[in-house]
């Protein structure tokens, strides 16, 4: 992705704003030197930047994620900080209380890490393998579809409805995910198809 822009301050493009000029006036050099231990060392030094947009509301603020390790180099990347993207026309680097704390959403203790299954009547989740979960789900789908698919209505008109299984789509997945989801769901004849926009 194009990171050159990140260094090009917004105002250099859109006219100088107050602090833009003043911070220059305060004489900040870029000499390559270790930070003196007097103030806390700047914690983003030598981190990797990645552009993203906030996943919460529809303002879609630009954010920059700072990680230890570079995903694009195939490294393990651990996000250590997230901050607003100054170059973004809408949020101009600002973030709301949710966006400003995104790092702790990424690292929430309640993030899911493994496929889990709860058996009928059980009082617990048990870890299962992806293959087991996906094969089982595909089988359950086929079983229900084959049993309850409505190919034609009373008048003999092909209607191809599958009403006994439903799919509720997300509102924060990407358009690409949504489109792939649409294709899969529609191909099966599921009509109970809806998303967060409804509520």
């Amino acid at each position: 992705m194009n990171m050159e822009l990140s260094r090009r301050g917004f105002l250099k493009a859109a006219g100088a704003g107050v602090a833009g000029t003043t911070l220059g006036a305060m004489g900040f050099g870029e000499a390559e030197a270790a930070v003196l231990a007097h103030v806390r060392p700047f914690k983003l030094t030598t981190t990797v930047e990645t552009r993203n947009t906030c996943p919460y509301c529809s303002v879609a603020c630009g954010i920059i994620m700072y990680s230890k390790g570079d995903l694009r180099k195939g490294e393990q990347a651990d996000i250590v900080h997230i901050e607003g993207d100054v170059d973004h026309p809408t949020n101009r680097g600002t973030l709301c209380p949710k966006g400003a704390a995104l790092k702790d959403f990424v690292h929430a203790p309640t993030r899911l890490k493994h496929p889990m299954m709860r058996k009928a009547g059980s009082d617990r989740f048990e870890q299962v393998s992806w293959d087991f979960a996906l094969d089982r789900i595909a089988r359950l789908m086929k079983h229900d579809r084959d049993a309850n698919f409505i190919a034609k209505n009373a008048k003999g008109v092909p209607v191809n409805r599958w009403t006994t299984t439903g799919f509720l789509a997300a509102s924060a997945t990407t358009n690409e995910t949504a489109y792939a989801t649409y294709k899969v769901v529609r191909s099966t004849g599921i009509v109970a198809f809806d998303n967060q926009a409804r509520v």
Binding site: L71, P89, L112, M117, A133, L140, R161, A170, T173, T174
Partner: protein, 813 residues
């Protein structure tokens, strides 16, 4: 949004009604504060509560939830009576002059053609008089008694300031002050913007709330202009995208429709979709419907979609009901008529009304699959959490799969924001544990299912086995592959119709945008309105030029906005009949005598003469609709109806409960409460510290707003002996919850129809899992009924009772 977030800085007046922008969209609200600081713009807030938006407003007025139509019709009446109308705009760009059929009328709160049995209207008479030339009859002088303008005047006549005060509880003086402030924006050089959200949609008359404001904006000439428009502040980061891509029971990507049983074949389906212009020389862009539909079918089923099988028309399901929306599906589920259910990044147990019913419905499923980066209450609906989720785990026979997905930080792709900007983002973090991309999960489920049908056959396998799925790795299509397919490409060489030797797009290449799509099966496109997002110029959604020529807030070089990178919809209406900007200081585009050009992509054919072609090209009329014909189930004009649960009767016709055509399931009728049992008017909302049910998993946001509470007035607290910070029980006909009491001056009792109405505010961010303290949400109490047109649940207005109580008991082992 018709306009962009960054366009709000160009406004003179911001009206926040049916929303709470500062609290729900702080960084978008920045542009309101910019308009205030740099243009001297004013901010009006109308809300049952004095919100954080109100805290920075220039004028605040209270209103009883669910009565917005009375308020807005009142403002329309004020503008008409005081000649505060942008006449040139109204006459040229709306259907004010169209003559309506004689049969149409409105009496005792009902329009012509009501059938109480069906709870529906026969809308035949809700239409224009069509002349012998096949075009709608108009009277530009607006003298004809049956012209839309005069019918509108008649319709809003009852909405006097006194009526508004009586119904809405808004003091007359405050209402009139707001009328004056709004009326100022009827001049061509002053614009007003409307920022709204679920405060308008979550009502049984939600769609009409929005129509009422849209009509007001039209007569003020504020649609299509800088700093104007109807701006729906969508709730989630890609709720716009999922709607655009048609992930709904009755939709095909790009706002095309899934057929109904009536449309037995492709011919009958297309017959109702010719969209012939209703006035001479109009564009009526939907005439291209077939191109988009066929291109979609080709994207779905490739070679299996051919002219001779009507482009696989029969692969599509056909609906026997208007839609299998979430309310209907949970009704069916609760009746035991649904076996399997998928929740992809969704938490219905806390999101849908009448939680008791949702729990009982989920318990009747054979299997449930949830895909989410976080724990959700839904995936653990079977788990007993004491008072917080008191279920009998053993008796619940549902098999549940909880699949871990990646989150935004670990995936690439695009999201459509409220301003229709498709913004690409990049993955920067390693997913935790075995978490996988949703595309991987959907791909894996599909290839496995397809394999089963290939091997074993089964019920109508064709649409599954023939689905176009030619991705490099069928197990996980890449975001780029999918984005390109959405944009569309040529299947065969596309030749210039005027010169067949000229190849416009060679076979296999990306089309430039939807203008190159065809209805002969030579193009494919997953979602026509997005076309142009990823063409031969590359991924336009990843563009990052943040220059803004003319400082209009358009940012045409920044990512991609649908349609055709257009930032302000209907922007042709920013110019007068001759194509000159109403306000030269706020020019968007302009007609130079030969073509349209300016700072935004014109929302009209570049060479369409301003005097000939109307600005609203998606309408057959070429103009906007003050009178919406039969396109809405509950009336061509918005009319006042009370919520299904209301503290007062409908003053127009006390016999009418709620919206007369809203769908109500038999089982739910008995679950509506009366004001005798439940005297207080409850409403639900978000708080700025949290985002739905996600941030309660975040230690930071949990610290900023740790525990579930309800907000009540000091008056109600005194009456009920409720202490600030004490525990209260709030219950409706459908459920009971416990919360801390937040006693505030920001909520005051409203005088409605002679009685004091107390408002109880219930925020929605707590559940029984996460970092924040355990709690409940308003959906435990909300009624199971939706809007008459789009079935959005009436979560913003219902009745409850309240009393002091003891803390909730802890989890029973």
């Amino acid at each position: 949004m018709t306009n962009a977030w960054t366009d709000i800085k160009n406004t003179d007046l911001v009206v926040v009604m049916g929303g709470n922008a500062a609290e729900a969209h702080p960084c978008g609200f920045k542009w309101v504060t910019e308009a205030k600081a740099n243009r001297g713009a004013k901010l009006i807030v109308v809300d049952p509560r004095y919100t954080r938006t109100a805290s920075v407003s220039d004028f605040y007025a209270p209103i009883r939830q669910g009565t917005d139509i009375s308020f807005l019709n009142g403002v329309i009446k004020y503008c008409i009576e005081n000649n505060k109308v942008q006449w040139e705009y109204t006459k040229a760009f709306t259907n004010a002059s169209y003559i309506v059929k004689d049969g149409f009328s409105y009496q005792d709160g009902l329009f012509t053609g009501y059938d109480e049995e069906k709870r529906d209207y026969d809308r035949e008479s809700w239409d224009y008089v069509i002349g012998d030339d096949g075009f709608a009859v108009v009277d530009p002088s607006l003298q004809h008694p049956r012209c839309v303008w005069n019918l509108l005047k008649e319709h809003v006549a009852i909405y006097t300031p006194e009526f508004v005060e009586r119904v809405c509880g808004t003091p007359k003086a405050k209402f009139l002050k707001i009328c004056e402030m709004i009326a100022e924006c009827s001049t061509p050089t002053k614009t007003m913007t409307s920022l709204y959200a679920l405060g308008w949609t979550q009502h049984s008359s939600g769609a009409q709330n929005i129509r009422a404001m849209a009509m007001l904006q039209l007569i003020l000439g504020n649609i299509g202009v800088q700093g104007g428009g109807m701006n729906a502040l969508r709730g989630h980061s890609n709720i716009q995208g999922l709607t655009d891509l048609g992930l709904m029971s009755n939709l095909i990507p790009g706002y095309l429709n899934i057929p109904t049983e009536m449309e037995e074949n492709f011919g009958s389906y297309m017959s109702t979709r010719q969209f012939k212009p209703l006035r001479p020389g109009q564009t009526s862009y939907w005439q291209n419907y077939k191109k988009f539909f066929v291109s979609f079918q080709k994207a779905m089923w490739g070679n299996a979609a051919q002219a001779d099988n009507d482009w696989a028309y029969d692969y599509l399901p056909k609906l026997d009901v208007p839609s299998y929306d979430v309310l209907r599906i949970f009704e069916l589920m609760n009746e035991g008529r649904v076996n399997g259910y998928f929740c992809q990044g969704f938490n219905p147990l806390l999101a849908f009304p009448n939680r008791a019913k949702i729990t009982s419905a989920l318990s009747k499923l054979k299997w449930l699959v949830t895909m989410d980066p976080l724990e959700t209450e839904t995936s653990r609906f079977w788990e007993n959490h004491g008072e917080y989720n008191d279920v009998d785990t053993k008796s619940i026979q549902t098999e549940v799969f909880q699949l871990p997905t990646t989150c935004f930080a670990e995936e690439a792709g695009s999201l459509a924001n409220s301003g229709r900007w498709l913004q690409w983002h990049w993955a920067g973090g390693t997913p935790p544990g075995e978490a996988q991309h949703d595309t991987w999960i959907m791909g894996q489920i599909f290839v496995r299912l397809r394999e089963l049908y290939r091997k074993e056959g089964g019920a109508f396998p064709d649409p599954i086995v023939n689905l176009a799925w030619d991705y490099k790795d069928p197990g996980e299509p890449t975001p780029e592959e999918l984005a390109k397919e959405i944009n569309g490409r040529a299947i065969e060489d596309l030749r210039d119709p005027t010169d067949v030797t000229k190849v416009l797009v060679p076979a296999g290449k990306q089309v430039l945008n939807f203008s190159q799509l065809r209805d002969d099966g030579t193009t494919l496109s997953g979602c026509w309105i997005y076309s142009g997002n990823f063409n031969e110029n590359g991924n336009n959604m990843a563009r990052r030029d943040n220059h803004d020529p003319g400082d209009t807030g358009a940012y045409l070089g920044w990512t991609f906005a649908w349609p055709l990178n257009r930032r302000t919809l209907y922007n042709r209406a920013s110019c007068d009949v001759n194509g000159k900007p109403w306000d030269p200081t706020r020019k968007i585009i302009e007609w130079d005598g030969t073509k349209w050009s300016g700072f935004d992509v014109p929302d009209i054919a570049p060479n369409a003469k301003p005097q000939d072609v109307g600005p609203f090209i998606m309408n057959q009329e070429g103009v906007s609709r003050l009178f919406t014909r039969g396109l809405m189930r509950d009336g061509p004009f918005p009319a006042h109806y009370e919520p299904f649960e209301s503290p007062v009767d409908n003053v127009i016709n006390p016999k009418i409960r709620g919206n007369p055509v809203a769908r109500v399931f038999q089982n739910d009728v008995s679950q509506f409460g009366t004001s005798a049992e439940f005297p207080y008017a409850a409403t639900s909302y978000r708080l700025t510290e949290h985002f739905h049910y996600w941030t309660k998993h975040n230690r930071v946001n949990a610290a900023l707003q740790p525990e579930f509470f309800v907000e009540i007035s000091e008056e109600l607290a005194a009456e009920k002996k409720i202490e600030r910070g004490g525990w209260v029980r709030v219950w409706s006909k459908r459920g009971s919850i416990k919360a801390k009491a937040l006693v505030t001056k920001r909520i005051r009792p409203l005088m409605c129809d002679g009685k004091a109405v107390h408002v109880v505010g219930i925020p929605l961010h707590w559940g029984f899992i996460g970092a924040a303290k355990k709690g409940w949400g308003p959906n435990s109490l909300a009624p199971f009924v939706g809007d008459a047109n789009i079935e959005t649940p009436e979560s913003k207005a219902f009745l409850v009772n309240i009393e002091p109580t003891t803390p909730p008991s802890e989890v029973v082992a």
